[in-house]
Amino acid sequence: MKNFLTLSVTSFIFSVVLWVLWHFLDSHVLFLAGKGGFFYLPHAARVLCIVYFGYRAIPALYLGELVGPYVLEAGLYSFSTLIPSLISVMSVPFALSFLNILGFTLGETRTSPLNRRNYKHIFLITFISAGFNALIVNLYMSRNNLSFPNAITDIEQVYRFLIGDLLGTIIVFIFLAMLLIPVLRQARS
C-alpha cells in the first residue's frame, strides 16, 4: 500500500510537471508557440511510469492527464477529454501487451526479450505506444466530430501526434540524462 501511494504520487507529480512545462513552452515561448503538438512532453511520463512502476501507475497518470485541461487551464479544449486522456494513458499498456503477444516480454536482465534497463527497448515501447495513441485518439475524435482549437482532425493530426509523442519523450529522456549526470556518475563509481 505504501509502495502504491509512493509510486502514485511520483507518477502524478511527474505527469503534471511535464504538462505544465509543455503548456508553458507551447503558449508562452515565442518561437515554439502553437507548435506544442510536435513535442508532447507528458508522453514520457506515461512511458516511464508504466514501464518502471507497472500498471498500478495508471490511475495517478490518468488523474495527472486531467489536471491540466480541467484544473490548471480549465476550458482549454471545447470537448470532454475524459476518454481521449484514458486512451492516451492506456496506449502504453496496449504497446506492452502487443509486444508481449509477439513474444517480447518486459524484464530487467540482459536475457529479457525487452529489457527495461536498455533505452533502445524503451524507445521501441515509446514508438509503438505513440502509434496506438495517435491512431485510437484520432479515430475516437473523428467518429465524434471533435477537434482541437485551430486544428482539423485528419491524417496530419495522426502524424503530428506520433511525431509529438516521440520527440517529446526523447527530449525528456535526454534532459533527465543530462540533469542526472552527477547521480549517474556516483552510482557508477
Partner: protein
Amino acid sequence: MREFYKNISDALAMLDGLEKDLNLRHLTPNELKVFYTIIVRSECNKFGSNISDIVENSGMSRSTVYKTLKKLSLEGIIKLHQSEEDGRESLVILNN
C-alpha cells in the same frame, strides 16, 4: 519501498546507457589537455604511460593531472595499473 527504489534504479540504468551512447559528459579544457597527452603518450608506450610523464608533457600541475586521471578512470575512459618494474609507479592505459 525497496521495490520503488529498485524501479528507480532500473530507470537510472536506462538513462545511464543513453548518457554513455550520446556522450553527454564533458571535459574542461585542462582535462582535455591531460587526456590528449595520454593519447599521444600511449602511442609511444603501449604498456602505459607513467604519471610523471603526463605531468611533464601536459604542462598541468600534478594535482590537476591526478584529479583528471581519477575522473577519466571513473568514466571508464582510462585504466590505472601498477608498473611491473617499479611497484610504486602507476601506469595509465586507454580503455578500448
